[in-house]
Amino acid sequence: MNAEIYLDNNSFIHRLDPRTKITIFLLTFIAILLFEDPLWMMPVTFFILLQLVISGSIHNLRRIRYILIVLTISSLVLWNLFSKGITPLFWIFKVESFYFSIARTLLMTLMISAGMILISTTRNEELVLGMIRMGMPYRVGFAISTALRLVPTIASSTQTISQAQRSRGLDLDSGSLVERVRKFLPLLVPVFISTIRNTNIFGMALESKGFGAREKRTFYLKLEMKKADYLVLAFAILFVAASITFSIMGYGQIAGLTRF
């Protein structure tokens, strides 16, 4: 099974410079945080969907679809309870808070999608190098990339471990909630221990290859901002500037909504 997050395609988005992608990722956050009204979030949603399709990252979203569904449902419920409206919809729900819950849910899924696009289209090394060129210290960048790298390792060892315990008769799909939680212990302990063991070897291998031997290090990868990068960046900046202007002018807010 392939547990890698990075998708080895060669789409337009893959070819962009990591700095462009990181900037767009950050700008996306600003753009989606500006509005309370889901309708005003539609343009960003459209661009993120476009990126998902072009880059093929939608495949990775499909892999985490269960988590997304759980998050969507709980967020829809919670944001209804944590905000107040004035126009009744049904039972205790109000129209304004219902809209707002949609907007917040959208915000969450869009953030996850934007992050997924970034790591599905950018190699770990490119991401680190991009962050360093943007001013982050090497060690911090390396720590981030190591954390990302652990995800597929843990996923694949979890799979093996759950198979091992299932063949011993562990049945994860039945029993009460408490029983089910208890049943995860036979999975968690081995996952934890094998991850620690792996990390230990990883650490030794790193040092053995001279990690941190010199103050400065070189990079074999070469980053280059091309015409496409500047065009995409210019568009993204204009888009966010426009969004900010609209937001300041008072558009995209929900009248009659009280947030806690």
Binding site: N2, Y6, T153, P186, P190, N198, S208, A213, T218
Partner: protein, 577 residues
């Protein structure tokens, strides 16, 4: 003689929190271009010794270090691991954890980048080293998609890119199939000759040690013997005593020599033949002959015993399995496994062995064809129900152990099956007795050695009292003595009526313990049959990256397939006492 490159002087080392010294007074020099293989039983201090060469000990693993390790005038004590990395390269056994880049090129670039090597020079080193280990064609692939052998070659290339003077490898081939093993050793051998690189390799398998100049045997943190490769490997008795696998060919001649010492001395002087070629040559010089009648008797007895097994437990008909659309991991496998059988499944890394075995207990369901266990399709039974009949011991015991005591670990499965506590106790007792761990009930399983944890894993599967026991690489990571006792135990279970299926890369284990062998290649069955028949097909085996042990190869050249030295020496005529 020139200055030694590596000099180990009165070295003692104790891990923090331990009472015993893991290394206890080691003195050893390595000269330029020398190739040393270090062998010894588990816990002898081999890996500890390897870790002292580049300073992982004492810098990464804290403890008490007495004495000195000096590499090219640099004391490891006074230099960090990263500083030593320029002169000492280190390759580990676990090839998953030591590769961390997203493509092959960048993996090789990582080391030189740390030493601020110019970009153009890094490019040159990437080209040179990938070309050298033969990974040039796949330089843009992510390492996670490579086979085990390729990963280990990549690990070597990535270390060579630092242009070290010394290369230390800690069991680099343990998880590899026989031909990949040879590939790695062939590369290291070339290296020694090309760059005057000094090599130190920790190895379990004696056949691989034949490439070395010198062999060091260590036990309990002490050097027992260091000497030229021929001298050490000929000392069959010492090796056996130390729990290191002796070579079959010298063992055979030694055995024959006990029957007729004078002949042996006159033919071989002090050196016993070691390789199949030498063995063949030496054999033709004697007046020994293989008794045709004794051989035929051996073969017919074996076939008669196999013919007695006739109740099929597992039947596969045209079994197919694909993980993705492009590749079929299993492609039309048809086979029967009979009650009381002892079957070895062999094949190169990625040939579908584990995928096949996971169908037997319902962990995987076929995407084509069918598989019946006890005449019922596995799909109708499910893994929970099948688990009672078909037990599966995974390769890595750490992937299943989670309890605080050995008792609880072994009791896990019976308890899940809602047995009474008395019955659980009885089952645990029997299972622990079967694996030789009676009396260990209250111990912490994590504190046991690898071989101990492996036994706990087997016991915890046995406690469900399955009819069929599947073992995925039961001998990997164990030393020779542990491998033997593990397989002897499996053999006893088979004699008591369990049907055994095991996956392995260790060909001598197959030769000595399996009744039948299945050879898989690219998801298809290439060869199957009685062990002796399969091992007589040397060429087909090579096709699937396997080769019989040296001893079997040697007997094949004499026109007969013998699986053990004992068996062969009993079939020899022409030896007068």
């Amino acid at each position: 003689m020139s200055e030694p490159i590596v000099s180990i002087c009165d070295l003692q080392y104790r891990y923090r929190g331990q009472k015993e010294f893991a290394l206890n007074g080691i003195n050893l020099d390595l000269s330029k271009g020398e190739f040393l293989v270090v062998m010894g039983p588990s816990e002898a201090g081999k890996s500890t010794l390897a870790a002292t060469i580049n300073g992982l000990i004492p810098h990464f693993q804290k403890g008490k270090l007495i004495g000195d390790v000096t590499v090219m005038g640099r004391k490891t004590r006074e230099n960090t691991v990263a500083q030593m990395a320029e002169i000492v390269g280190m390759v580990f056994q676990d090839f998953e954890a030591q590769l961390f880049s997203t493509n092959v090129e960048l993996e090789v670039a990582f080391g030189p980048e740390n030493f601020a090597v110019e970009r153009e020079e890094i490019g040159r080193r990437i080209n040179e080293n990938l070309d050298y280990v033969g990974l040039d064609a796949i330089r843009h692939r992510p390492p996670s998609t490579l086979s085990g052998g390729q990963k280990q070659k990549l690990a070597i290339a990535s270390v060579l890119a630092l242009k070290p003077t010394v290369l230390v490898m800690d069991e680099p081939t343990t998880d590899l199939d026989p031909i990949s093993k040879m590939g790695v050793f062939e590369i290291t051998h070339r290296l020694c000759k090309r760059d005057d690189l000094t090599l130190m390799i920790i190895e379990h398998e004696t056949e691989e040690a034949l490439y070395a100049d010198r062999v060091a045997l260590i036990k309990d943190g002490k050097l027992v013997k260091v000497g030229a490769v021929r001298e050490v490997l000929s000392d069959v008795d010492l090796m056996e005593k130390m729990g290191v696998m002796p070579l079959g060919i010298p063992k055979f001649f030694k055995r024959m020599g006990i029957r007729r010492p004078k002949v042996l001395c006159s033919i071989f002087e002090s050196n016993l033949p070691l390789t199949p070629e030498e063995g063949f040559e030496a054999f033709t010089k004697t007046d020994w002959k293989i008794s045709e009648s004794a051989y035929q008797k051996l073969v017919s007895e074996e076939h008669a015993a196999l013919a007695k097994l006739n109740r099929p437990l597992i039947q596969c008909r045209n079994l197919e399995h694909s993980y993705s659309k492009e590749v079929k991991a299993l492609d039309g496998v048809s086979l029967d496994i009979f009650e009381g059988d002892m079957v070895a499944i062999v094949g190169q890394n990625g040939s579908g062995k584990t995928t096949l075995a996971k169908h037997f207990n319902g962990l995987l369901m076929p995407t084509g064809g069918e598989i019946l266990v006890n005449d019922l399709p596995t799909r109708e039974q499910g893994v929970f129900k099948l688990g009672q009949r078909v037990g599966y011991v995974f390769q890595n015991p750490d992937h299943q152990i989670f309890s605080e005591t050995v008792f609880d670990e072994v009791a896990f499965s019976p308890r899940l099956r809602k047995l009474s506590e008395d019955e659980v106790k009885q089952r645990v007792k029997e299972a622990l007795k079967a694996v030789g761990l009676a009396g260990y009930e209250e111990q912490d399983p994590f504190a046991l050695t690898k071989s101990g944890r492996q036994r706990v894993a087997v016991a915890s599967v046995l406690a469900a009292q399955p009819e069929v026991l599947i073992l995925d690489e039961p001998t990997t990571g164990l030393d020779y003595a542990e491998q033997r006792s593990m397989m002897d135990m499996v053999c006893r279970l088979n004699e008591q009526g369990s049907t055994i299926i095991f996956i392995t890369h260790h060909m001598w284990v197959v030769a000595e313990y399996a009744r039948r062998v299945l050879v898989l290649k690219d998801g298809k069955i290439l060869l199957s049959g009685a062990t002796r028949d399969v091992f007589s097909h040397g060429d087909e085996l090579r096709d699937s990256s396997l080769r019989p042990p040296h001893f079997v190869e040697f007997s094949n050249r004499l026109g007969h397939t013998f699986l053990t030295p004992e068996e062969m020496s009993n079939c020899i005529e022409g030896v007068q006492d």
